[in-house]
Symmetry: C2
Subunit: 161 residues, 2 copies
Amino acid sequence: MGVDCHHTESAHPGLEGVALADAVAAAVNKCERTRERLTPPRRRVLELLLEADGPMKAYDLIAAYGHDGEPAKPPTVYRALDFLERLGFAHRIESLNAYVPCRMEGTSHRAAFLICECCGAAQEFEPDFAPQFAAAESAGYAVRTVTLEARGLCPACKVEA
Amino acid sequence: MGVDCHHTESAHPGLEGVALADAVAAAVNKCERTRERLTPPRRRVLELLLEADGPMKAYDLIAAYGHDGEPAKPPTVYRALDFLERLGFAHRIESLNAYVPCRMEGTSHRAAFLICECCGAAQEFEPDFAPQFAAAESAGYAVRTVTLEARGLCPACKVEA
DNA sequence: GCAAAACTGTTATGAAATAACATAACTAAA
DNA sequence: TTTAGTTATGTTATTTCATAACAGTTTTGC
C-alpha cells in the first residue's frame, strides 16, 4: 500500500500551529473535566498523531517521540496509546496496525474507517450500527466496542487506477 | 481474555468425523468448480481451522500442522491462510490476530464477528452494510472488503459477570 | 516438449507488542 | 502531613506475529 502511489494522503491533513494547539488544548480541557491525567508522554503521543498526515505505526511514534531525535521505549508509547484509546482520543486501525487521532465527537467506542489501499489514507466516518446490534443484544450479547474497517480505493486513487 | 473464564467456547464447536469430512469435501468441490487448487498445505490448514473450537492463532496452526507433531514453517501456514482468505474459506479476526473458518455462504469479502472478551468465542454473523456504503460509494470510494468486529460478552459470560 | 506461472521448502530477519519489576508521582484519608 | 493506596513512568528483556528472499518443484497452457 502506498508503494505504487503518487498521491498524497488527503483525508485528514496533519495539524500544525494554532490548529494543533487548539486540538491539544481541547484534550487538556476534556481531561480536566473528567479528572483524567494527560501526562507528558500521553500528550506527546497525541501531538504526534495530530501532526501526522495519516495513520501512524507504533514504531513511527517511538522513533519520532523525542524532540531531540531520541526514540521512546516501546512501553512508553504503547501505554500512551492505551490511554488515548480508552478516552476516545485515538483509534487503532486493526488492519493496518496503526493509529489515528479521533476525528469525531465524543467517546463512543465505535469507530469506522474507509481505508485506501493505494495511498493509505484513513477516513473516519460515523456509522449507524443500531440495526446490527439490536439483533445481537436481543440474542444476549453485551456489545462493548465496535470497529468497522472498509478497504478499497479513495476517490483520487480510484481515478488513476 | 479467557484467562479468568471457566466457560467453554460454544459459538462454533469444532468439527470432527463426518461433519469435518463433509466440510472439507465441500471446499474441494468448490475449488474444482472454480479451478482453484486446494493443495495439501492449504487443505491441512483448513482442516485445523474447522476442527478448532474457536479462533486459531497462526502459531497455533504452525504447532499443530504435522500429524506427527512436527511443526510447519511459518510461511507455509501464512501462505495457506492467504489462500483461504482469498477464496472466502477463512477470515482473519484483526483484533485477535487469529483465524476462523468461514461459517457463512459465499465469498463476499464481508465478515462480521461478535467476539466474547471473556471466553474468546467468535460468532460470525451476516451484517447489513448497505446503508453505510451507499454513502461511501456515492462519495467516490470503491469499497473492496469490509470487516466488522464487535467486542463484548457472550450470553454465557454475561450471566456470570 | 517447453516456457511461464503457480506453488512449496527453507533460512533468516523484520515488525509489533508485552512481561516483569523497580521507581516516582499523585490522591485521599487518618 | 504522614502514610497508605493507587496510578503512572522508566528500563531491560523477551515474546509474538509476519514476511523477505531465493532455490526448487509442480502445474498449466501453448
